[in-house]
């Protein structure tokens, strides 16, 4: 292939190479976004369940943070190596690893957020006849939105960066460009993949800020909860 001859003597970024590949860039963007959204979504569901357990029964909080903290500490490549023999190379392995990295951040923020809801508000909801589950979903989680969204933002930005590494097990969105560049010793795809990953992280972060504003109309009216 002609491109294989593109060597390091060329400029750092070959714009023509990129402009010939918008289709690939778009495809990788969708792939990257999908991997991120699925991981954060599943992570959020699991984290809400774990937080509900921890909030209902305090002694569970320490072991939950211990286990999720343990998962957070294991380097992704090591985690992949444990999962590949069981789940093979691909989407499921990538997702299990990505989800496991979101849990610590999300659980901590959900618990901290719900803890921050004033006791009087919780009592009022109880007095209005809310069941514990309904109160948790409709009052506690809702009022904890700013803190929870702060956690989701960190989790999402973290996952966007991590998705690039999943290229090593056959997934990876923009990571596919990075890996391709490494293998062919061609800097353009590496720069492209890295820059796009940062841009996507920033874009998702901004999107989440807007979501938070939409979900917390009371914050704009200057009413403090």
């Amino acid at each position: 292939m002609l491109l294989a001859q593109a060597s390091l003597r060329d400029e750092l970024v070959s714009w023509s190479w990129i402009s010939e590949r918008w289709d690939q860039v778009w495809e990788a963007t969708l792939n990257h976004l999908q991997l991120t959204v699925v991981a954060v979504g599943i992570g959020l569901l699991i984290a809400i369940a774990l937080s509900a357990v921890a909030l209902a029964w305090r002694p569970a909080y320490a072991p939950i943070t211990w286990v999720t903290g343990f998962l957070y500490t294991i380097p992704s490549l090591a985690l992949f190596s444990f999962l590949v023999p069981i789940l093979g190379l691909g989407f499921v392995t990538a997702q299990v690893a990505l989800v496991s990295y979101t849990l610590l951040i999300l659980v901590r923020n959900i618990v901290a957020g719900v803890d921050g809801v004033p006791a009087a508000v919780k009592e009022a909801a109880d007095g209005m006849g809310y069941t514990p589950l309904r109160r948790f979903v409709a009052v506690d989680l809702r009022l904890a939105t700013p803190t929870i969204v702060a956690g989701i933002r960190i989790a999402a930005v973290t996952v966007v960066g991590l998705v690039t590494i999943t290229a090593l097990i056959g997934e990876g969105g923009y990571g596919v460009f990075i890996l391709d560049g490494l293998r062919r010793r061609f800097s353009t795809p590496i720069v492209l993949g890295t820059v796009l990953s940062v841009l996507l992280a920033v874009a998702i972060d901004i999107a989440l800020v807007l979501v938070e504003r939409a979900l917390t109309p009371w914050a704009r009216r200057g009413v403090r909860h």
């Binding site: 343990f70 490549l77 090591a78 992949f80 700013p146 702060a150 991590l162 590494i165 800020v209």
Partner: protein, 251 residues
């Protein structure tokens, strides 16, 4: 399980331990580059963080450094070092691994050192001033000692990240523990892959636990709870409660 048998086979074969690409050599290479990177990151990050914290300026810089650090994909940064280092004639392996490690290790150390010095109770500083201490003495004798536990937290966060990222050095030709994983994946050798994964995970956890113990010994007054991690100050709404979050990106 089959994979566990293969892991045991790989680990119990003595020739896999010694020699240029043996377990012992690669573990030592992994540890050495990690320590070196951590020391360099600290040397670069701490002085400006302490000065800025002391004069109480640069909060925006601190937040930006951390946020950018979080958004940068470490895989991309490492891969990027590869062509650059070839162009600069530094070759493969050591340099294109070390430089990104130092770079990625800076944000958590910087943030924690800054927050630590900046966050010292103004009343404490005032009484020190009242006792006639000069600004320099306040920094050395009051602010720094109070900030040290938080600085150690920053070092812990960075150290774990550096150990994890050094694994990716395998991709730019640095022969360390990550090489077992990438070679294992490429050669469909589960035993080799798991050996790398196990050792990297152990090293990361040992690093985390070691620094946690150090933190705890420095803060005897807060035995009851785990050391405070850096808080997320990246949010636009300063009034909201900022919960403790880990300040590093995972690698």
């Amino acid at each position: 399980m089959d994979a566990l048998g293969e892991l045991w086979d790989f680990l119990s074969t003595e020739s896999n331990w010694w020699g240029r690409n043996g377990i012992a050599t690669r573990t030592w290479a992994h540890v050495r580059i990690s320590v070196l990177a951590l020391v360099l990151s600290a040397a670069i990050a701490i002085p400006p963080a302490v000065v800025l914290g002391h004069i109480k300026r640069g909060g925006l810089a601190a937040v930006s450094v951390v946020n950018i650090g979080r958004a940068l994909p470490s895989f991309g940064i490492l891969a990027l070092a590869f062509p650059l280092s070839i162009q600069l004639g530094l070759g493969l392996g050591f340099w294109p691994t070390l430089v990104p490690l130092v770079f990625l290790g800076i944000p958590p150390i910087f943030m924690n050192a800054y927050t630590g010095v900046r966050g010292v109770d103004p009343g404490v500083v005032e009484s020190a001033n009242g006792m006639g201490l000069t600004a320099r003495q306040v920094l050395w004798q009051v602010e720094l000692p109070i900030a040290i536990p938080l600085m150690v937290t920053g070092l812990r966060v960075s150290a774990v990240q550096i150990v994890a990222t050094a694994t990716l050095g395998a991709l730019v030709g640095f022969s360390a523990l990550g090489s077992f994983i990438t070679e294992g994946i490429a050669q469909f050798d589960d035993g080799k892959m798991l050996t790398g994964g196990l050792l990297v995970a152990l090293l990361a956890i040992l690093t985390e636990v070691g620094f946690s113990l150090l933190e705890r010994s420095l803060t005897p007054w807060s035995r009851s709870r785990r050391g405070t991690e850096i808080v997320d100050e990246g949010s636009e709404t300063p009034t909201q409660t900022a919960p403790a979050v880990p300040g590093r990106t995972v690698t």
